[in-house]
Symmetry: C2
């Protein structure tokens, strides 16, 4: 089957589209990425999504209309991608459309995370991805799978992460233990032990990806820049360890997986707090951006140290997502992972990459069994461009759902069992 | 196949559940209603639905949580119905769940209806039925079709009415022209000419059903009563023709079909206006309830006179929905339909059933070709209990969608062509 995967993440940059040829069935799926592209959201639409995702009160009608409008926008993105790929939409068999998350609160994020200001009140775990699949199907003439997350959540799962199925299909290796790290708005990891079966996979959101950095850059440039291109701003600042120290108190980091998070937690309220903390610590804008970039890298390595390396032998960290293109973030990751090997004592711990101050709250792993080299690789080194990974994943999940097969990884989401993800909207007859 | 149909209408009373045995394919569908029941919404949930459907501003998270909570409630209703019907859920093949409409604005309602206060601002036609199908499928173990309306709307249709497919399947008669009238929160008619093909059907929302009456009763009884049981209140009031006259100015009545409406239009703002008009005309509560009941009956007969009887020979009006159990409303309908036959001159026109004042704005049809007896029948006379009609219809629509067949009636919805309605959520493997 020829399948289009459409992904638009929590950073609300736009829509990544992958065209993927898929055949077979697990564990023998054949997957070939044929092409990929990215399509921006119109500015007004981006603003409206952010307004709604930040939980600004709106009427049901406003949400309904954005749901519908985004359906049309995704359909147009799919058609524009077909044109760019020089393929007739009539030859595409299926679309997997993630949709735009405007709310996500899994059972675990609700139960344990946050006190006071960071908490979203809730009694029912729920998730909302908007962009109507029926409109995508009708406008493109291509049967569409949408709304992947609630089926897992209905079985007690977090509804996230869902990419681990793709990590399994793409990265499982007979001898190498691998961690797939996607740095989107939120950063998430999938642990794929050597020769793993799906039940052995292990995945969770580590915390912020680009979301906090992007928000600061957008704030300080008054919206002229949306992200720290080539880490130019972070490179000009200096890190403020006392601030980093406070950030590392974030209770999400200590929450045991499976866990997931999003803009409800790392959104406007969090950024406001960051800005207040920055003032308290006399941080200049670029200092705050640099410190937050280091915090982001630390939160990822912290998660590996706490929850992964003590249990699994890992040879490679495969990085994808927009954050893979932030050289300072990737350098920090590499440096921090190297330093894991150095087995420093707790009170000797220092951030190695030029920040010479102690960061006592950073979780380390002193067990000598983890003294192994971890190679940091972009996913492109394994044939998946860093910016196509997630859209490819949703093509794959749609393919599985179309064949009525489950594709959640219960060990990653915490679900009680396998779920057939998403809802199928059949295209009108051609 | 054994199919459960779940319907919860704009009056937000609760969930009607039908168990239907269906086999074959159009035009030879075999349909047998095996059982039906109704399950109330918990009061807190009903209030929350009404709050959201009245377009009170809420966060995306609140809507997401109600979407999820309603998914669980529909699932529990399906399971409770199975228990009541003494059938194992494992023997049910499919669920069709309409969901709860919290917003609906078709292309036609947007383009033409209302000025100023009655208008909901919109640029994109959209509709939102909440109650997550994935949760229903997961909790019941039964594959579920949900969210039927947007696929039709994506083809330029109003996304409503959708019941005409069932009217076609149930009521098409080789010799009798029939109108199926469902009086739910909104009233709608489907015209099924004798020996019609689907393309000859014709359907639209005539205007208010029970919605205005229920709102007044609830208002005047401070919520102690939700509807005018046996028309006890209307029977105690007297009609106020000048007020009726003003109500009949409602521009929706003159809007040519296809057209659809809902709580966005006949909701809180409309009722507020009704209450103000009532005061202006010194109407006591029961006077206002009686006058509004007559307005409701008039709006239905007005629609038949304007848009149906001039074009089609109709022998029977088959009434279903909660309004079929309001004896004063049904008596008014019968009386008004009889009076159509009497070919009175325009200035002689009077409401016949005890209200002896002139109602000049009421549309009549003086064409002698419509001088025919129209028999008013409850749908139960044709084997479909008046309160099971709509839930049966959504069982039937789900059956068609499951078989990848279209089931909108473009001549009813205004869509450009056939649409496969709804989204399929597969149950986890049993």
């Amino acid at each position: 089957m020829l399948v289009l995967g459409l992904m638009s993440g929590t950073s609300v940059d736009g829509i990544d589209v992958s065209l993927v040829r898929i055949s077979g069935a697990p564990p023998n799926l054949q997957i070939k990425l044929l092409n990929h592209t990215a399509i921006s959201f119109p500015t007004a639409v981006r603003k409206e999504i952010l307004r709604i995702a930040e939980q600004t009160p709106i009427s049901a009608g406003e949400l309904s209309q954005l749901h519908s409008r985004l359906g049309h926008i995704y359909a147009e993105a799919a058609l524009a991608a077909c044109k760019k790929f020089r393929i007739s939409p009539g030859k595409v068999d299926l679309i997997g459309n993630h949709g735009q998350t405007v709310f996500h609160q899994g059972p675990r994020s609700e139960r344990k995370v946050g006190s006071g200001e960071w908490r979203v009140a809730s009694k029912v775990p729920s998730t909302l991805q908007i962009g109507d699949g029926s409109i995508v199907a009708a406008r493109t003439g291509i049967t569409t799978v949408s709304d992947f997350r609630p089926a897992d959540m209905a079985l007690g799962g977090n509804g996230a992460p869902l990419v681990p199925f793709a990590d399994y299909a793409l990265y499982r290796h007979p001898k190498l233990g691998r961690v797939s790290l996607n740095i989107g708005g939120i950063a998430n990891v999938t642990v794929v032990p050597a020769s793993a079966t799906p039940g052995k996979l292990f995945a969770f959101d580590t915390g912020p990806g680009n979301m906090l950095i992007d928000a600061l850059v957008s704030h300080f440039t008054h919206g002229r820049q949306r992200f720290d291109k080539n880490a130019a701003l972070a490179q000009q600042g200096r890190a403020i360890p006392a601030l980093l120290n406070e950030l590392l108190r974030d209770p999400y980091l200590r929450l045991a997986p499976p866990k997931s998070t999003g803009r409800e937690y790392y959104g406007a309220a969090y950024v406001k707090k960051l800005l207040v903390l920055g003032k308290t610590h006399h941080a200049k804008p670029n200092d705050l951006i640099r410190t937050t970039t280091i915090f982001t890298a630390l939160s990822i390595v912290d998660a590996l140290n706490r929850f992964v390396l003590p249990k699994h032998k890992i040879h490679q960290l495969i990085v994808s997502g927009g954050g893979a293109q932030n050289p300072f973030l990737v350098a920090q990751l590499s440096a921090l992972l190297i330093s894991v090997k150095s087995n420093l004592k707790s009170d000797e711990w220092r951030v190695v990459s030029g920040e010479k101050r102690q960061i006592p709250r950073f979780a380390r792993n002193d067990d000598s069994s983890v003294m192994q080299p971890i190679e940091v690789l972009p996913s492109s080194a394994l044939g998946v461009p860093t910016d196509a990974k997630e859209s490819l994943a949703f093509a794959l999940l749609a393919y599985e759902t179309f064949h009525q097969r489950p594709s959640n990884i219960p060990s990653a989401t915490g679900a009680r069992g396998p779920a057939i993800l998403g809802k199928i909207s059949y295209a009108p007859q051609r």
